[in-house]
Amino acid sequence: MNCTEILHTQSYLDGELDGAEAATAERHLETCAECQALAAATADLSDALRKVPRHRAPDTLRHRLTKQLDRETRRTPAKSFWVGAASGGGLSALAAGFALFLLLPPTAASLSQSVVDAHTAALTSQKTIMVASSSHHTVKPWLAAHAGISPPVTDFTEQGFVLTGGRTDEVAGNRAAVAVYRHGNHEVDLFAWPDRGTKLPEPGMARGFRMTFWKSGDLDYAAVSDVDAAAFQKFVALAKNQRE
């Protein structure tokens, strides 16, 4: 480890940098063999770590918590949500899952839901692309004309994500511009819609698709795809750091 920029490169790889800082880190990464090796090794490690199962809270703990909160509130509800969530029976687990969905902050839950709905609807109808082009000179003005917003569009072919086109779509009632990319057999959709101050969901998975949300300028963004974690992170880093 001799490179003095190594922590800076790590921050870049972790998606902690934006704007000019990210551009500087990117330029450095292009020329520094040590940082390139770090990037590859970090991606491999992240991928392996994401396959280590997360420990899940046992049902017995949920039961104990319910009882404890009952004592704390000095009122015993007939059947609290914790009990439903912990019982594990088919129907009540289903009900608990439904309750969880209802109880999540509506904006975050509906945004995740809406983005995955739009992505899967486009995939199943095979109408993911309304304008087919690998040139950002074509896709960007088309999106500006049809979606009414003009997010940056960049072809990342050299980094493994081929720009294949764009479409308009709808996310939680907002008109969204979608840049469509291909990575091997997988499609990656990059959604953008006007930021209305909504709190964005945390990165996560729904129905087998990874999603990450972020804000930049006056737009909200969501990347969604079923590529693996390392590829997805790489795409998100690229998308976050593209220039106007």
């Binding site: 790590q10 090794a41 404890q68 909160l69 704390e72 509130t73 609290s80 109880l103």
Partner: protein
């Protein structure tokens, strides 16, 4: 159910697994993790009126970590070592995983468990819980620069140890 409790359950429940995962990796003991999370959720519930928005996951994980620290201090006062019942058994089995992959995962699991605590926690928070440097700094109570160097050390140590199974 009163409104405060409903709001608490709605906001905190989605992060119960995250709370348990952190407690489990910090204490390396299922029994301790149970106690730590139970204690943490109770404290969080009592302090919930003081929680004014912001990231509830980071807030909960901070409380979990504090509970783990005080549980450790209590154990030491009783003359026990906090690592006594550490166990490195295999995580929940995944039927789709082959025996070889399972072996590699288990080894990786054990390697994470053997990292010094200050490296282990930043690694878990970053790689499993997807927390930002700022959030990790807030949870662990150290400057961002320290988070960055600990994360680099944790990854380097793990890469070195896991060379065969990555």
């Amino acid at each position: 159910m009163d409104d405060r409790r409903r709001r608490f359950e709605a906001q905190a429940l989605p992060h119960l697994d995250a709370a348990y995962n952190l407690a489990r990796w910090l204490s390396r003991s299922p029994t301790d993790a149970d106690d730590i999370v139970q204690d943490a959720m109770l404290r969080a519930f009592r302090a919930f009126d003081g929680f004014r928005g912001g990231d509830i996951k980071a807030w909960l994980l901070t409380i979990v970590r504090n509970c783990w620290l005080s549980a450790g201090a209590a154990t030491r006062r009783r003359g026990h070592t906090s690592l006594e019942d550490q166990e490195l058994e295999a995580p929940e089995s995944d039927p789709e995983t082959t025996a070889i992959q399972a072996g590699a995962k288990r080894r990786l699991d054990a390697m994470i468990a053997q990292l010094p605590q200050e490296f282990r926690e930043v690694l878990i928070l970053r790689e499993m819980e997807d927390m930002s440097y700022r959030e990790i700094a807030d949870i662990t109570g150290v400057p961002i620069g320290t988070v960055m160097s600990r994360l680099a050390r944790a990854r380097a140590t793990l890469r070195e140890a896991a060379r065969d199974c990555l």
